[in-house]
């Protein structure tokens, strides 16, 4: 096997949390609140349902082929050539795409919100360099680093509690104002983010107890949607639906408002640190999946030689792939890539794989 390390279920849950949440908290509230307004939390509910289904799908698939990742069983199910094509799709259109997207989102965030005079490419290069070091050391280090930094997510909850002073529950009323359509529209983006649980397919083989994969995936999705709901609610309760939809990073603006006793205020740097550490892990997971996937796709004995070249590709893709300016980036994330990834890569292909494997009778009986 390419990866010697093993991780336990708790680490896996935390890893999945960091795989989904960091950018979700940053970007999703704005996209969702734009269409679903004060009913955004309902969008998250829908998205959670979709996410749970995808999680179930991925785990069922993964458990049918114990010890194998998405790339390996895709070939086994579909045959060599179609399997390779599916693999290629995932490497380039999912892992590398989202990986570069994560870089871009963080670059954009840093440039617009924190340090406007620094060229965005600097953040991209430094970020990828840090993450490359992590990825080269394998899954174990990745999940340990995550375990080390994830307690900072707890700060989000603290910030939420601190900002209750400025919140008004009335801002969520009236419920179900504009009917179901905007809510469904608003749920596409969070569903795509929660659907990133597909990455779990790369990690199932390295679980110490693969039997617990179902529990891991379900819990991850539920925790993610909890934090996501919290960050959307925070922005909505502070700014109301009219203003929230117009911020680019509502969670960030919400934190700027917190002020306790004239001293505990200006906490946005705390949030920036949380976002950054989370971003490192998120990028790490997709980076790792791309590297490991490529190594399996090419049948290599070691994935580490690919780490640096893939890093270069990630940086190179991050600027042109997601649009020239922030408007294009936001448009592309919300209206183009989210539905595409959701339909094709997160639901479509896994479902296809499962159906084919069931009809062909391939793979062991899953315990689900």
């Amino acid at each position: 096997m390419l990866e010697q390390g093993k991780i336990d279920s708790k680490q896996a849950i935390m890893l999945m949390l960091s795989t989904i949440l960091p950018t979700a908290i940053l970007t999703v509230p704005a996209v969702t609140a734009k269409s679903a307004r004060q009913d955004s939390w309902m969008s998250i509910m829908i998205a959670t349902t979709v996410g749970l289904l995808i999680a179930r799908l991925v785990v069922v698939l993964g458990l049918r082929f114990p010890g194998k990742t998405l790339f390996e069983y895709a070939e086994e199910i579909l045959g060599k050539v179609p399997g390779k094509i599916v693999g290629l799709l995932y490497i380039w259109l999912f892992f590398l795409y989202i990986g570069s997207g994560v870089i871009r989102e963080y670059g954009v965030f840093m440039v617009t919100a924190i340090m406007p005079d620094t060229p965005i490419i600097v953040f991209h290069i430094v970020g990828v360099a840090v993450v490359a070091y992590m990825v080269r050391n394998g899954l174990e280090v990745l999940s340990r680093f995550n375990q080390l930094t994830i307690p900072t997510t707890g700060l989000l909850a603290i910030v939420f509690i601190l900002s209750t002073k400025d919140m008004k529950l009335a801002r969520l009323l009236p419920v179900f104002d504009a009917g179901p359509l905007p809510i469904v529209k608003g749920s596409v983006a969070p569903a795509m983010w929660l659907g990133e649980i597909v990455t779990f397919a790369m990690i199932i083989p390295y679980l110490i107890r693969p039997r617990e994969a179902h529990r891991v995936a379900t819990l991850s999705i539920l925790l993610c949607s909890f934090f996501l709901t919290m960050s959307i609610l925070e922005a909505l309760l502070i700014f109301g639906p009219n203003v929230t939809g117009h911020w680019i990073f509502p969670a960030f603006n919400a934190v700027r408002v917190v002020s306790i006793a004239n001293f505990l205020e200006r906490l946005e740097s705390v949030i920036m640190v949380i976002f950054m550490l989370g971003g490192f892990v998120k990028l790490g997971v997709f980076y790792y999946a791309a590297v490991l996937g490529s190594a399996q796709w090419l049948g290599l004995k070691d994935y580490r030689p690919l780490v640096l070249p893939v890093g270069v590709i990630l940086v190179a893709l991050s600027i042109p792939l997601w649009g020239e300016n922030i408007v294009e980036v936001l448009h592309f994330i919300g209206q183009v890539y989210a539905p595409f990834a959701l339909i094709v890569l997160e639901v479509g292909i896994p479902l296809l794989l499962l159906i084919v494997s069931l009809t062909k009778g391939k793979g062991g009986e899953s315990d689900a």
Binding site: S35, L93, K185, V188, S294, A295, L298, G299, L300, K301, D302, P305, L306, L308, P309, V310, V312, I313, V315, A316, L317, I319, P320, L321, W322, G323, F332, G334, Q335, V336, Y337, P339, F340, I343
Partner: protein, 71 residues
């Protein structure tokens, strides 16, 4: 800028290749070089200011009906 980029690539090659050659991992070396070439192909034109066709547009066209719906 271009000099920096080439230095970077040289650095990466120096970093990885000797070990691979020593261990006789030819397949890995080939994969490494292939990926690095892709990386070069993607980054050097950007530094030089040449615009490459963007796969984004294809996805955009593919997904157009749905994105219209989401507007």
């Amino acid at each position: 800028m271009i000099v920096l980029l080439i230095l970077l690539f040289a650095g990466i090659i120096l970093f990885e290749v000797p070990g691979l050659v020593k261990k006789k991992m030819w397949r890995e070396l080939a994969a490494f070089l292939a990926y690095l070439l892709i990386g070069m192909a993607l980054s050097i034109p950007q530094v030089l200011g040449v615009k490459l066709p963007n796969p984004t547009k294809a996805i955009e066209a593919l997904i157009k009906p749905i994105s219209e719906l989401l507007k």
